[in-house]
């Protein structure tokens, strides 16, 4: 993976004399003091981030923490007061005129919180806008626009006007409009905040699907920590214009950099963030069908287990056998296949705890983590499910 965008010491200060406020921030004065003293508002101060190609990077923080200010610097809707933003090795802050237009037309597109749709244009007219201003011929741009509308599930809505659509559908139009330009980087400023929770969850999943298909670099803003941790490959937390921590959701959960973040993640619903792969163990003891019961008993004794998973020759999961059944089976001269339990609970690596919990309650055996080919990838013990729900901190 390579770095797509590098944000170096970016500050954005609003007001009559932005530059004059920089030394004051350096002295460690607070936002309020600086506003009172100079009339300047610190939007973002000294942000440093590296965003990898193809990653879904989330910026999270409370209202007023500078998220929008920062993301708007990235496509120069805000011109940074200080600092550099390197995209593919070029500092875009220096871009002007034609170069800036090219950058916005080809490399980067934005999805807005309140959709920012053109109410005087049809859905299709909205989606083709980016191509239209680039001078792409009508036929061609309509075709691209139709394809993009289809990919967000809006086939058949081309000739409607935005105000005839529900909020969720309008934001799909916003997304299709941004994607029609085929940008490398997609900026999303609280795109789902205006939607109700059910639609929101649906859109999050669709975004993840889309990301899997298109492999864009996405910078996503939210003030909802559950959303951030659910969709983010990495998350940056902002406070008062500063980036206070950057890391994967798990690493932030494990080691919050300061009290502010601990406070933030306190009300997080861990069952919606922790996935099977975060709690599973490596399957160190597995027996094959052809090994037979004696080997199974030996394996269990050697590892101090009360049950062991059984796979076939190609390591596909077949079932589980307990030590009691195995010993009984040996006495009765039965085969491994006869005594093993075939009805077992399986989940995928990506399954969230919230769907694992009911399974853990229903079964008395460990839960198997399998891939699409039913190969065993890990084991989740029932106690681990419960213990992972309890935060290690605070």
């Amino acid at each position: 993976m390579s770095v797509k965008m590098k944000i170096n010491n970016v500050s954005k200060i609003f007001g009559p004399k932005p530059k004059s406020a920089i030394p004051l921030v350096e002295q460690g004065k607070s936002k309020d003091d600086i506003l009172a003293e100079t009339g300047n508002t610190v939007g973002v101060y000294d942000a440093n981030l590296e965003i990898e190609e193809g990653e879904l990077f989330v910026i999270m923080g409370l209202s007023g923490s500078g998220k929008s200010t920062l993301i708007r610097c990235l496509n120069l809707l805000n011109k940074p007061t200080k600092g550099a933003i390197e995209v593919d090795g070029e500092d875009v802050v220096k871009f002007k005129g034609e170069k800036l237009k090219q950058y916005r037309q080809k490399k980067i597109a934005m999805v807005f919180q309140h959709f920012g749709l053109f109410s005087h244009r049809t859905v299709l007219g909205n989606v083709e806008y980016g191509l239209e201003i680039r001078g792409v011929p009508t036929e061609e741009r309509r075709k691209v626009a139709r394809e993009n509308l289809e990919s967000v599930g809006l086939k058949g809505w081309e000739d409607k006007y935005p105000d005839e659509l529900s909020g969720g559908m309008q934001q799909r139009v916003g997304l299709a409009r941004a994607l029609a330009n085929d940008p490398d980087i997609l900026l999303m400023d609280e795109p789902f905040s205006a939607l109700d929770p059910l639609i929101r969850r649906e859109m999050q999943l669709e975004l993840l699907d889309l990301q899997e298909r298109l492999q864009k670099t996405i910078i996503f803003i939210t003030h909802d920590i559950n959303e951030a941790f659910k969709i983010g490959d990495r998350v940056a937390v902002m406070k008062d214009g500063k980036v206070v921590q950057t890391g994967t959701p798990e690493s932030i959960l494990e080691e919050p950099a300061n009290d502010y973040i601990s406070e933030f993640i306190k009300d997080i619903d861990r069952s919606k963030i922790i996935q099977a792969e975060n709690v599973m163990m490596k399957p160190n003891a597995v027996v094959s069908l052809k090994d037979g019961l004696n080997v199974a008993v030996r394996e269990m004794e050697a590892n101090g287990l009360s049950s062991v998973f059984v796979t076939d020759r190609s390591r596909k999961l077949q079932g589980i056998v307990t030590i009691d059944d195995a010993i009984k089976g040996i006495k009765e001269k039965k085969s491994l296949e006869d005594v093993m339990v075939k009805q077992i609970e399986t989940v995928s690596r990506e399954a969230y705890l919230e769907e694992i919990i009911p399974k853990a309650v229903d079964t008395k055996y460990p839960i198997a983590v399998v891939n699409e080919e039913q190969r065993l990838e890990g084991i989740i013990l029932r106690v681990h499910v419960l213990s992972s729900l309890i935060a290690e901190n605070g």
Binding site: K101, A109, F112, H114, F118, S119
Partner: protein, 285 residues
Amino acid sequence: MQDFPNISIPLGDGADFIVSFLQNNLEPFFDFIAWLTSSTITAFDDFLNFLPWWLILILVFLIGLYFQNWKSGLLFSTFIFLVGSFGFWEELMITVAIVITAVVICIMIGIPVGIFMALNKPFSVFMRPILDAMQTMPSFIYLIPAIFFFSLGNVPAVFATIIYAVPPVIRLTELAIRNVDKEVVESAESFGSSRKQILFKVQLPQAIPTIMAGINQTTMMALAMVVIASMVGAGGLGEQVLIAINRLDIALGFEAGISIVFLAIIIDRVTAGIGDRFQRDKGDH
């Protein structure tokens, strides 16, 4: 009691000086404007008079039908028929021709000025008191310079009408463009639109319903002014009112007055209808 000291600041003389200066030095320019305006009015008037009266009634009905419903269409053509029956057919056509000419010029001046004010803050700050003054001055003040520049007739009437009636379309154009949702303009910007593309593809289309409201107001004011402008020799319905006043002829005054009211109703409904149409075209049906 103290009398006000005998100080005089010759502001009025200044205005007089400017007007005479312009008149003396820019005569060919004013002549050209006069010629252009009067030919436009004549063209409209000739065209309207070229149409047979019944065709105009039918057209008025159709306009009402298109912008409102058949009842309005019927009402409008009844109004026009009544005005004709008072014996004011030709006067009506002249008035309509002057109003249309004035409004077309108002739109051609007002929309670009309004756009420029919306995009340029200092210009807007500069223009605002001028627009205020233009609207608060008693309307017949404009007749004085109009006479100086264009002597008597329809042309000074159009000139005075434009000055009096142009502010609403300027103001509402500025307001409309300023009020276009910020996020919508930014989204256009974020796609790399040029300033011109943002203006023509986003701001203006979004602003049209409000601009139409401005045109509606401008048209109504133009009609009011055209009546007053008969004092400088504009023909049409206003002239009949003036004659009625001079002769204290109540019957004539009433008929001419009611004719103006009829025309005002039709113009108001139609221009408002155009605005609604724009709004409807962009959605909910």
